[in-house]
Amino acid sequence: MEKEIRLMKGNEAIAEAAIRAGADGYFGYPITPQSEILEYLMEANPQATTGMVVLQAESEVAAINMVYGGAACGKKVMTSSSSPGVSLKQEGITYIAGAELPCLVVNVVRGGPGLGTIQPAQSDYFQATKGGGHGDYHLIVLAPASVQEMADFVELAFDLAFRYRNPAMILSDGAIGQMMEKVELKPFKKRSEEILPWATTGKPAARERNIITSLDLDPERQERFNLKLIAKYREIEEKEVRYEEFQVDDADYILVAYGTSARICQKAIQLARAEGIKAGLLRPITLFPFPKKRLNELASGVKGMLAVEMSAGQMVEDVMLSVNGKTRVSHYGRMGGMIPTPEEVVENLKLFIKG
């Protein structure tokens, strides 16, 4: 089939893109504001066309462990949820990271802590980028800022996850999940029939048995494994940083924002420039790996950076670490499901400039 253009919700785009990317399985549990992903897949019934398995699990915990089982077979499997549900999935995610398996986890973030709200937020940044569960590990984290990117990042996330045998996350939010935009969908890709050499698919006579585990009771071996993971994360940081820049070349002040906040900041820099403030925007696309080097370079030529997030200030810590004191860094954020307006961002940029 050819490329197709449709008007879709972000959540629907993720679901459709998963079918088209040749995903083998989706395991999920309903939670607002992302239930459309499961609903869309159930209605599309890809089992009948591509053979993709779609299953509503009894809990987020079960869903992520289904993903673990499927990933251990070398299959392209995914789950999605929203913040409280993603907290529940952390157990499975750390096992998947510890067993070095590829998979995709989508978090359509809502405000917290606790049950919080069903409105959009970006308050799961720490959880997404610093590991989230127990132990030393990272996910590869992609932050879409449009419905188009919700669709495009599904295949990208799977590619990265399989390249590095590491779980990948799409860190979205309730705004991008729920809003409708034009989206260009890629043609259908056939599901892979390749049997991966490490996958638990049944031991043929020709190979040793495959064991998927995150357990090693020997501390020396376990530490060697930790070092191997760290080397993998360093490689990811070298090769996979993605970001987008808007008007940074002549900027005195740079806004740093991802996802929904980045869209708001695009408008905010226009408004600021109309008032004579030379503002630019750096939008991290990968949150892990974070565009540390680029921010450090930019820090030399600007008077300050303002991280704009729908949180109490999480990504701002990575901005500070990146610029390492070279320039002033501050944070502006709204919480609890509140979304800042471009005007509000400009007002706070002015306050930041005043110092």
Binding site: G25, S59, V61, G69, T201, G202
Partner: protein, 259 residues
Amino acid sequence: MAEVNIHDIIKPENLAYRKSKILTDNVMHYCPGCGHGTTHRVLAEVIEEQDLQSKTVGITPVGCSVLMYNYLDVDFQEAAHGRAPALATAVKRLMPDRFVFTYQGDGDLAAIGTAETIHTCNRGENILILFINNGVYGMTGGQMAPTTLPGMKSSTSPYGRDVKMMGSPIKMADIVALLPGTCYVTRQSVSTAAGVKKLKKAITKAVQYQFENRGTSFIEVVSNCPSGWKMTPVEANKWMEENMFPYYPLGDIKVPQES
């Protein structure tokens, strides 16, 4: 005295037992008298006899049998505590022609993994759940399990399980037998040679039902824990027969309706 060679004694015609090729040469870590080793052996024999090695994916639990993957020469996934049936669900749905089993203890299956157990059985996933019930958390040092008998002492019920405080031991086999998704629910034991043979028959049937897509097979093995119970193996088996079997009676609870 004439020298005797081992090969003069062990001839094919008088060979009573041969170690299954599916069992590896790794030394098992289980305590003397524990039922896990025998249960592993029986499962290995069925996998060998049914020629299932290339089709088998096993899911190990957290508990004493966490290292089961060292002992059977088949592909294994090591699950988080209680989650084995969720992994098995995905494995079987993604690869329906494989033989998929979980191997779980009572803490794993009947406490932390209760939801996964119930819902996997309720969906009638075509897998085998092999449930080892010894009424105690063995690996962590003999704490009270959901299946610990009333009055039974453990390190977290030092005065005996008080059912007023802690509820009664849960009979998981009876619970899952009520669900339409299970096709075969049986309770066995490996404390006698006859019991071992019965378990082997039960596992063989479960394999057959799995390939006939009949639903979930649930085999409970009522077992012992000499270390956790602080008994000798002989005492533990006697105690099990006198105390565990009356509460967890052996035999079939549910068998498939012939179609």
